[in-house]
């Protein structure tokens, strides 16, 4: 099992929000991947976006620009 690393986790109200974020980040060449939303964040079994923490500002800006609503951004060890 790999060592845990700090990650920025973006939670969404819908799965479509997470999928749209994946598309957006792929189009912009931004690193990250879809993950099951961590249990520590919510009891929902949705999908979240995991990215390097240093991308927080850039990602927030891009999401706002694209009109993708988030349910929160979290700094976690994953």
């Amino acid at each position: 099992m790999r060592k845990k690393q700090p990650r920025l986790v973006v939670a969404f109200h819908t799965t479509a929000g997470a999928i749209a974020t994946e598309r957006l980040c792929q189009a912009c060449g931004m690193e990250g991947r879809l993950i099951p939303v961590p249990r520590i964040i919510t009891s929902d079994c949705g999908i979240a976006w995991s990215a390097p923490p240093n991308l927080r500002e850039l990602l927030e800006g891009k999401l706002q620009q694209a009109g993708i609503e988030t349910a929160g951004l979290y700094d976690l060890l994953l």
């Binding site: 099992m1 819908t14 799965t15 479509a16 879809l34 099951p36 249990r39 009891s43 079994c45 993708i68």
Partner: protein
């Protein structure tokens, strides 16, 4: 350290799977029908019958397992301060999808949970259901990837989220204090049940653990195909393995595609019924068990879905859509069960409705992200 991480990531879900499996074995030993220790679809159908919503005399009993699952989830959510009233995510569509998920499940003769329990009993007819469920999930994922969404839920008052748990308390009161108001089967699967206290405790345990672990048959497969993540699926596998080992130890494992308890050999329609249930479950964001758990946590949309499934069960039996089990005639002839023309038409209609709902909720004129 590595072991601790592994336990943290997989511990709850594996424990939940094992407890569900053991509970299913115990309930079967205590009186529930064979290979039906737990079945969300069958038990909601029995509840619909107990309330007089359909008149199929063999499937009427107010199953305390369902009450326990919802209230177990409510208690676990309340203790962990996760009980939140939420609603507003296309409730009418969820109701309709719930109706057809139930119709599909009853064509197969079981929800995804019973599908696993049937496989754990050696029932090879359930393989067609598993393949159909996988196919339905892949169709759902195809549309998720294209932006399908029923829209977000919004915070609502806790009272809104308490409706289904409240209804379950009322049903428990009816079962214990006013059973004369209910209908009870005198023969058939509805007449076979464990003592209500055992059923209720099993349901409470499963509900509480499933709330903590987020156990979901559809979500587990969705995560594997969409995210390459196996955590939720491990719960699904833990149930399968536990039930298989338990049945082998108890001498109840019969590896065969014939004469399985409450199962039929119309494999194509088992496949299509579970494909309908799988696709619908992905659109809903969870399998029938998960809908009960979410409703217990205060999700009003899931409560509406559960009500849709109960109505779907009533429709299935009032219009002769549900599958009939294979049987052996008096002269010893093996009679293949399955569904009739009405059931086939209902499955086809179900696919049409799911497609219409899906296309209406893809990104486009009305954004729902």
């Amino acid at each position: 350290m590595r072991e601790k991480n592994w336990i943290r990531e997989y511990g709850w879900i594996l424990l939940t799977g094992v407890v569900v499996g053991v509970a299913a074995l115990v309930l079967t030993s205590a009186g529930n029908p064979k290979n039906m220790g737990f079945c969300i679809a069958c038990f909601e159908r029995d509840i619909a019958g107990a309330l007089g919503m359909h008149s199929a005399g063999k499937v009427q009993y107010l199953r305390p397992e369902i009450i326990g699952i919802v209230l177990g989830s409510t208690l676990a959510a309340a203790v962990s301060k996760e009980f939140r009233g939420r609603a507003g995510s296309s409730p009418a569509c969820r109701f309709a999808i719930g109706v057809f998920v139930m119709i599909g499940a009853l064509v197969f003769l079981g929800c995804p949970l019973r599908m696993v329990i049937r496989l754990g009993g050696g029932d090879l007819t359930a393989v067609a259901g598993l393949l159909g469920f996988l196919a339905g999930i892949l169709v759902g994922i195809f549309f998720l990837r294209r932006g399908f969404s029923l829209g977000r839920a919004y915070p609502v008052r806790k009272g809104e989220g308490s409706i289904l748990p409240g209804m379950m308390i009322l049903l428990l009161f009816l079962l214990l204090a006013a059973p004369s108001l209910l209908r009870f089967s005198e023969e058939g699967p509805g007449s076979m049940h464990a003592f209500w206290g055992i059923s209720l405790i099993a349901g409470l345990a499963v509900g509480a653990l499933a709330q903590r672990s987020r156990l979901c048959m559809a979500g587990g497969l969705r995560d594997v195909f969409l995210l390459r993540d196996f955590r939720l699926l491990s719960g699904f596998l833990a149930i399968w393995i536990t039930v298989t080992i338990g049945n082998l130890l108890l001498g109840n494992y019969h590896l065969s595609a014939l004469s399985q308890p409450i199962a039929h050999s119309q494999h194509l329609w088992s496949f299509l019924g579970m494909a309908l249930a799988g696709w619908g479950s992905i659109l809903l964001g969870g399998c029938p068990l998960r809908q009960l758990i979410l409703a217990g946590e205060g999700n009003g949309d899931s409560a509406v879905t559960v009500l849709g499934m109960i109505v779907g069960a009533a429709v299935s039996h009032n219009f002769g859509l549900a599958g009939a089990a294979d049987s052996v005639a008096a002269d010893g002839t093996y009679v293949i069960g399955g569904i009739g023309t009405a059931g086939m038409a209902a499955v086809a209609l179900g696919f049409a409705v799911l497609l219409a709902v899906t296309l209406a909720h893809l990104p486009g004129k009305e954004e729902a992200v």
